[in-house]
């Protein structure tokens, strides 16, 4: 019987049983699965809010919900998707599971802090859920003052506390990754032999550590202003509301790179495996990851062009914003060059990689539109911006996350997902995504403001298209949920390296043993050395 063959070998899944062995685990692989469950829950919760938003926008009148309720819908959609899904997603699931394995380590540097990070995300999520169930929050995920401090009658503080706690989850994960990559690499695993997925997560970790504390203090000040009226953002006392925006965006801009850098890391892996070629320009791609992390901290004012910040600051931020696009573009060029004359396989992960490259490019190019101060004055706070960031976050990050999930699923579970259904879902998601979000570029440019729940009749056609796309997208996202769960029981057993990939995680069993490797690996080959892999396989057989 199929299940017997898997059960007899000891893996991280059957090394111990019972709920305590999961809730008190120190194993980075188990913690990754704990996170997987949590963020999947938050993804679908955030999706419910998106569904309600799109349903309301089917008609020009505000007929499904009230204006106040609509404000709560888009706020909770943003808060949940950003802080409780996107920010943790790839690093806390795929990063947690595979970063130690990729560098040949037994675990992260601080396993108990890793577990603490998960608990912090859950506790933060509880605060956010409490706010949601008790009546919601309506300030937008950006919490601009003075509305959030002086006028909103919703659960701003509870939400703020939830985000504060989740922020520490993120900080500790970043801290753990940085120390691990610096000090826990196996013998022979030099920096320039690391998989690019590790470089991406390392760069992401830098952002998490340097940026997140600033939103933490911002939330403290927000709560202080709201409860004690400390006056720090209050013009009546001499305070400046724009200070809030500087503090908020100092983190929240780099945060988008927390969300996209790990995704880029996944794409580097996928593009290489499924063209059987080393990533073109390895060092350039590696340095680009760090460059994105650094430059990403210098551009936050591009969210504030119309806020009242000085024109000179606006000019500086606009100018700098063009630079941050360069390393991202370099990566796209390098991935494309990797494909050139490669032996391309169209397995599901590769379909997601193709989707990423195209959609991220659209998102990235439209980023240049909004980086231009003059253009942004026209499109700021319109659906153009919404389309831009959803192309990156959903067309980019979410696609990469799904691609990575499919790619590493056999390693994590020991089972293959059904390829036919997976390909179909990828297609459904791709089509649904474009139908949902492309019309929003047009809507925005024509003047449809964001966060509005009514609109002029002439916008209805585009909104209907967008909502139709959203329903297709919803189906597309439900399909993997179903077939991944199906595969755990009925999927074909996977071997150690079903894709023929390089990388240390493929040199151990699927699922891996609790200690990752039987013996600490000694690395002698460069990253993505398919010739060496082939030679190694031949030596084993012969």
């Amino acid at each position: 019987m199929i299940t017997e063959a898997v059960e007899e070998r000891e893996t991280y899944l059957n090394a111990s049983y019972g709920i305590k062995s999961w809730l008190l685990t120190k194993d980075h692989k188990r913690i990754a699965l704990l996170y997987l469950h949590t963020i999947t829950f938050f993804f679908f919760l955030g999706g419910i809010f998106a569904t309600l938003i799109r349903l309301e926008l089917l008609t020009p009148k505000g007929d499904l919900v009230s204006a106040d309720t609509y404000a709560k819908l888009f706020t909770l959609h943003g808060v949940i998707m950003i802080f409780f899904f996107l920010i943790p997603s790839i690093p806390a699931t795929l990063g947690n599971f595979f970063l130690p394995m990729m560098i040949g380590a037994k675990d992260l540097a601080f396993p108990r802090i890793n577990l603490l990070s998960w608990y912090l995300l859950v506790i933060g999520g509880c605060f956010a859920m409490y706010a949601m169930l008790a009546g919601g929050v309506d300030t937008g995920w950006t919490f601009y003052v003075p509305y959030s401090t002086n006028y909103s009658n919703t659960y701003v503080i509870a939400t703020g506390i939830g985000i504060f706690i989740a922020g520490f989850s993120s900080i500790l994960t970043g801290l753990n990754f940085i120390v691990t990559v610096h000090r826990m690499r196996a013998p022979g695993m030099t920096w320039f032999r690391l998989p690019l997925f590790v470089w991406s997560n390392y760069a992401t970790a830098l952002i998490q550590v340097l940026g997140t504390p600033v939103i933490a203090i911002t939330l403290v000040l927000l709560i202080g202003e709201r409860t004690l009226h400390i006056g720090i953002f209050d013009p009546a006392r001499g305070g400046d509301p724009v200070l809030f925006q500087h503090l908020f965006w100092f983190y929240s801009h780099p945060a988008v790179y927390i969300m996209v850098l790990p995704a880029m890391g996944v794409i580097s892996e996928l593009v290489s495996v499924f063209s059987k070629k080393a990533v073109f320009g390895y060092k350039v791609v590696a340095f680009s990851s760090v460059a994105i992390a650094v430059l990403g901290f210098l551009v936050w004012g591009h969210h504030m062009f119309v806020s009242g910040q000085s024109v000179y600051a606006g000019l500086a931020f606009s100018f700098l914003s063009y630079f941050v696009a360069i390393p991202s573009a370099i990566k796209v060029f390098n991935w494309t060059a990797t494909l050139h004359r490669g032996s391309i396989s169209f397995a599901t992960p590769m379909l997601y990689a193709f989707g990423f490259i195209g959609l991220f490019t659209v998102g990235g190019l439209t980023g240049l539109f909004v980086a231009c101060l003059g253009v942004d004055v026209h499109v700021h706070d319109t659906y153009f911006v919404i389309a831009h960031f959803h192309y990156i976050m959903v067309g980019g990050t979410l696609m990469a996350y799904l691609g990575g999930l499919h790619y590493w699923w056999p390693k994590m579970s020991g089972r293959m997902y059904p390829e036919g259904w997976a390909k179909l879902s990828a297609l459904v998601i791709y089509l649904g995504f474009n139908l949902t979000f492309f019309p929003q570029f047009i809507l925005g440019y024509l003047g449809m403001p964001r966060r509005y729940w009514t609109y002029p009749d002439e916008f209805q056609v585009l909104h209907v298209m967008s909502t139709a796309g959203a329903s297709v997208l919803a189906v597309g996202y439900l399909m993997p949920l179903i077939y991944f769960m199906w595969s755990l029981r009925y999927g074909p057993i996977a071997g150690p390296n079903p894709w023929g990939a390089t990388g240390l995680e493929w040199r151990t069993a699927s699922p891996p043993p609790a200690h990752n490797f039987e013996e600490t690996p000694i690395v002698t080959t460069e990253a993505y050395d398919y010739a060496a892999l082939a030679a190694m396989e031949e030596a084993k057989v012969g």
Binding site: L210, L243, Q309, S310, A313
Partner: protein, 99 residues
């Protein structure tokens, strides 16, 4: 790793210097140096910080990586302060209403 312990003498000298500098900054504050007062205060504070970091926190015996981490932290604080201040300091410089 810092395996060799500094001497009690070294620590005492650093401690006394810190006390001296605290006195100095208090006294300097009573002298009118105009805009230079804040510069002096910050300068003395930075010197005190360096003494605590290098000697009490053993930074001078630490790895290069540790020093890079500390330097990076200072640099990032600098980015936060300077780039934000660039907005407030340049307001009203251009004859554009409200900016």
């Amino acid at each position: 790793m810092q395996e060799h312990a500094d001497s009690i003498k070294t620590y005492t000298l650093v401690f006394l210097s810190l006390l001296l500098l605290t006195g100095a900054t208090t006294v300097v504050a009573t002298i009118d140096l105009g805009a230079f007062n804040v510069v002096m205060a910050l300068l003395i504070a930075v010197v005190k910080m360096m003494l605590v970091a290098l000697f009490f926190m053993h930074l001078r015996h630490s790895t290069i990586l540790t020093k890079v981490v500390v330097g990076g932290g200072m640099l990032w604080l600098g980015i936060l302060l300077l780039l934000s201040l660039s907005d407030f300091v340049t307001r009203g410089w251009l004859p554009v209403p409200g900016k």
